[in-house]
Symmetry: D2
């Protein structure tokens, strides 16, 4: 992970994201990972809103999440995102989510994506985005 | 409300819908109201998926929710939905959400909608849907 | 609204918050209002996490939302929150949500809360929090 | 999977669960898996609400989801849930989510859980629940 380009985004855990176990619900981290890659793409010049406007989608084909420690309401969390793997049709992001104040590791994860067209056809990741994501 | 056509849909409160107060989070009821009107439209023959396929949307312009009693994880709840008002361009749904087993009233609500086209233009509710909703 | 103490918080609309109408889903704004009052309380020195730790809850008894314009994925939005009314047992927050870049008004809202104890008993808002919120 | 006890639960994809790609958002399936195991436990006589009332939690330590085909608003989906593995402290559920009408396989998944006490201490799964889940 050390030689990877890592992008960070920090925000607070929301009240609506907690559950009756009084911790952040495990599905919320999946949304946070998505915000992590949104920020990664934005900062790489490959804003995902632009990718979609151009007629391509990075459909999610798989996710994996490992939960180590819980986040709680109001805590500041940082999502660290990097490109784990980039092939002609397949893109894998890696994630670490930490407590932004203590640095405690909360969650590690991965998401796999294929590039599809508006019609749902799997296609090569357009060169323009591949270059920006592969930096 | 007595002379209105009322449609009911019943399901269980989900774990993910609870918050750290150990009750269902107040935004979840807004989603339940939406499912209530989805079911109302489906049973009226005006399935909202078909409305959208036909190029129209019932955009939400306002909601009002009053919270009386809390729902808890695993409890069966019933959403009762009716058309409160139907004008050429404006549609108002009314809702009651009750505990399906005890009958206890949990929430009352209302949602207002205007009909818009795919381009976002406000338009008259197509006669086909108006008739079905106005029964 | 002019003489009120207003607190702002700004963040981006998340992908998960959109729906198939390709705008932010109307229930997401209810969560954003909650984050608005979380931030208001934090900045007033009445952090809601502390209120709960002290054994009190501000239960939501009603919400009202008016939707004027839609937010879209990736847009920066600002939630402006103020105390609309503060009685011994009742607290009302007011909200405006705007596009942070254009200033366009997206949503206005209100939420009503009563103070309850851990046992669910309605009680007076503790003087400590009333003072901080009433500034 | 054939010799496992499988529990099914069927419901419709909600409008709020869709995203701007006009399919169900990938985090929604994580919530559906949770509802799958809620139903599994309920039907096994090990209602999770009772587990928590007894002072135990099955904390999620990992999830894995593979996305094959998308669900859409209004479609009926069936979550099939079974116990993949049951050790003294570790419980793994397996899932298949299919379109309830076409039978098309949408998603496969797994979730891992450890049993913890109210104080957050990892502990053995109480014999009472182990027996019911292991049937």
């Amino acid at each position: 992970m050390n030689d990877k380009h890592i992008v960070e985004t920090t925000f607070r855990a929301r009240y609506a994201e907690t559950d009756q176990q009084q911790i952040v619900h495990h599905a919320s981290y999946v949304v946070w990972m998505e915000e992590g890659r949104s920020e990664f793409m934005r900062q790489s010049g490959a804003d995902y809103a632009d990718v979609e406007r151009g007629g391509h989608y990075f459909a999610v084909t798989g996710i994996q999440v490992r939960y180590l420690t819980s986040a709680h309401y109001g805590e500041r969390v940082t999502v660290r995102t990097w490109v784990e793997d980039l092939k002609s049709r397949l893109l894998t992001f890696g994630y670490e989510i930490v407590n932004a104040d203590s640095g405690l590791l909360l969650v590690t994860g991965e998401s796999e994506h294929v590039c599809i067209t508006r019609e749902g056809q799997v296609t090569r990741i357009p060169e323009q985005w591949r270059k920006l994501l592969g930096q």
